[in-house]
Structures are given as structure tokens and as C-alpha cells.
Amino acid sequence: MSKSSTTKSTYQIPIVPIHPALKEPVFFEFELDGEKIVDVDVKLGHVHRAIEWASRKRNPVQILYLAERICGICSYCHPIAFSLAVESTADIQVPERAEYLRVIHGELERICSHILWAGVAAHEIGFDTVLYLTWQIREKALDLTEYLTGNRVTKAITMIGGVRRDITQDMIPKVQESLKYFKDNFEKLRGIFLDDKTFKMRSQNCGVLTKENALKLCAVGPTTRASGVKKDVRVDTSYFAYGDLDINYTTPDILTGEVNGDVYDRIIVRLLEVKQSIDLIEQCLDKMPAGPIVAEPKIAKLLAQLKKANGEGVGLHEAPRGEVIHYVKFDGVNEAPYTWKVRAPTYNNILPWIPMLKGQQIADIPIVAASTDPCMSCTNRVAVIKNGNRYELNKEELHRLSVEKTRRLML
């Protein structure tokens, strides 16, 4: 009698760029054993838009608005990181009031982004009632953004050396009224997200990222803080006015006393950060000194000053998703920067997907993928197309290109 020839083997399914379960264009190739995920491969490069190339023929003031369009949700952190980089190159001192205003806008963006994420997370596990509730609160945050900056999404508030709009005395009551609304509703949201049975069932012990993996794979932002790694640009480098404010790392053990690094912990961290952001805005409104809001109000003069700038600068900012880095280099001859490089936080949060997804079920893919709050449009920078054919670069080739670029940049 021969042995049965049917042996169980794994099979592969692609979950491709345009997929109803994923909000972002990213290519997943899963190797599955039944319902269980054995291996994952992630491919990027579906929304490359040549933004960095477009900057080569624009002056820094124009690039602010180009940077704003890297991502719709982070429409403040990209221009602000860019202007931080430019300010460090051209030695521009930002007035103190502007530093506080920058914190307010940054934290307001964090509230918008985290509440949006909470709604999406609820939607991913099929709890659409919560999606509508959270987005109702987000609507109020967007109204406040519109009131402070002029538009709901593309804020256009950043200017090199400060901000473009002040928060005057008569605007403060409206801001405080909105903050009170957030605080009142925050408790309700926390009750729903953290105590509801549906959420606990789907998010606890799901998509675990251990502290070792988070450190090894260089995860950033709430993803890494949920695994217990104390990493936050606002505390580590205390740029803007963060040095004067009461701020600390947000890790899930503040609330629960333990760190699991699962999706539930990531929900906790983001919700606590919303509370922290409300608190930071209140502190800023209290402590904000009077004074100018921009270093050089005459933009024509600022452009002339930037044209003379020679050197390179790096801008770091804690975006809602983690650390965003902008590198910029000016050659002192041209108005446009010699080079501009953006590293969005999602880039670091891609590799942690692999340990998170391994061992999970197919039905957990959307919530685990969404739990890092991926933003592919921010991340995608490199897709090489030559003669109409797309090709991938291997390690040696990439190394060679990297060496060449370093030589080129050294002038």
C-alpha cells in the first residue's frame, strides 16, 4: 500500500495595489498555509510622482507648496520639515511666537490624523458605526484647521522662518471651544475603542511587533512606541517650542501597565497622543509670547537671502506617523536647491509589517496593515524606468549609484 500522495503545500496570493481592504497602493505577496500567513513580501513603487525632481526648477518658497502635496494628511509636516532644513542651511532664526504657533499647527494635524486613523481602523475590522462617530469628531478638527489656516486640508501655513498666519486674541475663544469639544468626546472615544468587546477581540494579540524587532527594523512613531521603544523627535531633540512644554514619551504601559506591541497597544498609543496633543495646544495658548510671527516678512528679500545660501541642512519633525526627514542642499548659485531628499515615516514602518503579519490569519491583514498607519504616497520615491521598461536595482548596482551620488554631491 502506497502512502497517500496528497501532501499539504503552501500557496501564494497577491493582494495587489488596488484592493478594497487596503487604503493605500502597496503590493503584498502572501505565502499561506490554509488561513495562516507563512511569509510576506512587500513591493512598493506604485505612486511615484517625481516630486523631488520637480523641485529642481522651483525656488524654496514654491517648494513649500510642492512639499505640502507629498501627502494630504501630513500637509503640514512635510513643508515644516523642509523649512527646518532650509532654516538650518541659511541660518534663519525663527521668532519665539512662531515656534509656539508651529507647535499648535503640528499638534492639530496630529489630532486630525490620529482620529482619521482610528476611524479607518474601526472600518477595517467591520465596525463602521465607529468610523462615522470618529469622523464626526474629525470634522470639528478640520473646521478648526480651516478657521486657523484658511483651508481644510492644504493648510499653506508654513513659511521659511515662521508661519503665515497668527492666532489673534479674538480667535482664542473659538480654539478653546473646539478643544473642549475634543476633550468631551475623547472620553467617549476611549471608552469605545478600549473597552468595547469587538475591538478587544480583533486587536489584542494581533500583529505583534516585539521591542527587539521594533529596534532592529528601525520602526518610528506610534508603531515603535506601542512596542515600548521610547523614541519621539519632539522629546529627543526638542525643536520648536517643545523644550518649554511638558511632554513625555507615550507608551501603552502608561494606561495598562504592560507592553504587548499588538494592534490594541497601537490604538492606545494613538488615542493617548490625541490627549497629549490637546494638552500641548492648551499649554501653547497659555505660554505663547507676543512678537513677530515670521523672521523676514518681505518674501522678495527672503528669496534673495536664500539664493545666497550655500550648504546643506536636515530637518527633522515628528509627523503623526513618525519621524520625517528632509535633506536639502543649496549650491549658492541657483535659486532652486541642488538636491532635496524626503524620507517619510512609513518607509521605516514597512519592514515591521513582515514580523507583524507572519503567523496571522488572512482576515487580519487589513487591520494589521492599517495599524502602522501607512502612507504610501509619502513613501514612494524610487521607481526606475528606462526605455519604457521598469527594472529593479540589485544591491551592487544600488551601492554603485550611491557612491556615485556621494561623489557628485561633494562637488
Binding site: T129, E146, G150, R165, D196, A300
Partner: protein
């Protein structure tokens, strides 16, 4: 609480919906025809949510004040402004405009300003409504 969302969901049934149903309670199948009806007084339009002060809408251009210094061309991120050398005046293509109001900030004579008009959708990018001169 086991199902903390239930009481809220029930309470919502007796509340007014949050959405402002602009332009009509039921989306018209033909918007152009609907607008014609509104102008003729046959239908009623539900107004949009009011814009806050400082909203950045359609650009307004005061041609008399303009001195043709071309500074706005220099800062426009989307190159939406064209210079007309014959009259030393500018022409703004709103189809390209990103509504950042950077040109308003740099203008030395304050001849540019932002209005609160935002209903600018048009199938023709060069239509009369989308060109400011």
C-alpha cells in the same frame, strides 16, 4: 461595557444628520439643469456651509492697482500666472491655481486678494470663470 456603541447609535436615530445636503436634499441627476431651475425660481437650493473669515477662494485682481512687477510670477508654485507684456498686467489661470495665496502676500501694491467663492468646477479649463485678468 460590552457594546458601548449601541446607546450612541440608537440616540443618533433621533438626531438631525450632520451632513449639510448641498445643493439639494437628493442629488440632482443634471446639475446644470438644476441650477437653471434655481435661477428661474422653480427649485430651491440648500446653501453650502459658510466659509470662515480668511478662507482662500477664487483670486480677485484689481487691474488698476497692478504695476506689473512680476513678483507674483516668481513665487507661484504652480505657474498659474501669465505676464502680458503689452499692458504690463497679469492673467491668472484658476485651473492651475493651488489657492495658496502666496501671490497675495508678495504683491507690493495689494492688488490681489482671496474671495470666499469656491464653486469653481468646470469642464472647460479655459472657461471665462476660471481666468482672472
Amino acid at each position: 461595557m460590552k457594546f458601548s456603541m449601541l446607546p450612541k447609535a440608537f440616540a443618533q436615530m433621533f438626531k438631525k444628520p450632520w451632513t449639510n445636503k448641498f445643493p439639494a436634499k437628493y442629488a440632482p441627476s443634471n446639475t446644470t439643469k438644476f441650477l437653471e431651475n434655481v435661477q428661474a425660481g422653480k427649485a430651491k437650493i440648500i446653501p453650502p456651509v459658510e466659509t470662515p473669515p480668511g478662507f482662500r477662494g477664487k483670486i480677485q485682481y484689481d487691474k488698476e492697482k497692478c504695476i506689473g512687477c512680476q513678483l507674483c510670477l516668481k513665487v507661484c508654485p504652480s505657474e498659474a500666472i501669465e505676464f502680458k507684456p503689452e499692458g504690463k498686467k497679469i492673467k491668472i489661470y484658476l485651473a492651475r491655481c493651488t489657492f495658496c495665496s502666496q501671490c497675495n502676500d508678495i504683491c507690493p501694491t495689494n492688488c490681489l486678494s482671496m474671495s470666499n467663492e469656491f464653486l469653481l468646477a468646470d469642464s472647460n479649463l479655459y472657461s471665462k470663470d476660471l481666468i482672472v485678468e
